[in-house]
Symmetry: C2
Amino acid sequence: MDQPSPIAFYFDPISPYGYLASTQIEELAARYGRQVDWRPVLLSVTVLQVMGLKPVPATPLKGDYSRQDKNRMARLLGVPICELRHPEVSPIRALRAFLWLKERDAAEAARFARSICARLWARGEDISTAEAVLHEAALLGLDVAALRDGMESPQIKTRLREEVDRAVAAGVFGVPFFIVDGQPIWGVDRLWMLEHWLEHGSWDPAP
Amino acid sequence: MDQPSPIAFYFDPISPYGYLASTQIEELAARYGRQVDWRPVLLSVTVLQVMGLKPVPATPLKGDYSRQDKNRMARLLGVPICELRHPEVSPIRALRAFLWLKERDAAEAARFARSICARLWARGEDISTAEAVLHEAALLGLDVAALRDGMESPQIKTRLREEVDRAVAAGVFGVPFFIVDGQPIWGVDRLWMLEHWLEHGSWDPAP
């Protein structure tokens, strides 16, 4: 029997909803015999450049809503969350590190991705600097010396740009974003919809 | 025992997601002994003027996503949906008529609201002109002559502006938008979250 295709899971550590999804996706996928293919995306590209919108936190009404909403969603999911203590946070270095790791060991890279998201949103620590990224890698027992060189290489900078372009070409605009069997699903508030597809493989109502 | 407070349900007929929610909200509310308070909002005010964004259909990536997504969501909910055949549609007259009706009979106004949403999104007919609005009212057996005068009165135009201002002041930015017991909930994809609150009255995970 064919292996079912993996769930493409697009994340940007800057998104609290991406963090929330990062705490759920592996368990949900495993329950239905699926792998998770973690993929980087940059909201600074999709939201600002491609869609021509402003960041959600800076959007009137929606910014306030999402600051409150992330807390009740975390409570519903049973995971910790904190306020953003680093408003100028940049995910670029963390995502370069993630990609470098992924090209060597996808499972290790996924572990790093979950850890970086939790660093920012559960522990309230910065993820922007090389020091912060390498500190997180060290906590996971990764090879920090190799990662330090790898994450700053011109090749990996190009690769991140390519990956973000591929995400946009696939229609990814928000975070978290799931693509499973060609079905695009946006939002941690749609985990029920992802699960519906995994269980039934159609959009017919549950029998 | 006190009557539980109603669910404020904000709708704009221009939104396919508002239509989808309009087919579900009364049954969901009734299951938990709640009334529904139908309230008008204008996405042309909240999205364009207040948030400073562009309409979802005109937003790159998100426009295409929502055009596809509305169809699978309708299928999941077991209701019909069609493409927007009137891209220049305006909900203003329909919402003025709704408000005029609501000040006389809230249940009748809610019936009219559901019917106007279905006119656009299930039957693919225009709702912009006075003729279209009155035609829908006639199908429901309403007093068309009285509505014709009422919906064009300066008072009702002012009242609609006031209602939209009140919605914005309450933090309403999208459609459908629910407020129940002070909890704001945005999106037809969050009916599960509304139901969670109605059932448990908290954001703790279901026991």
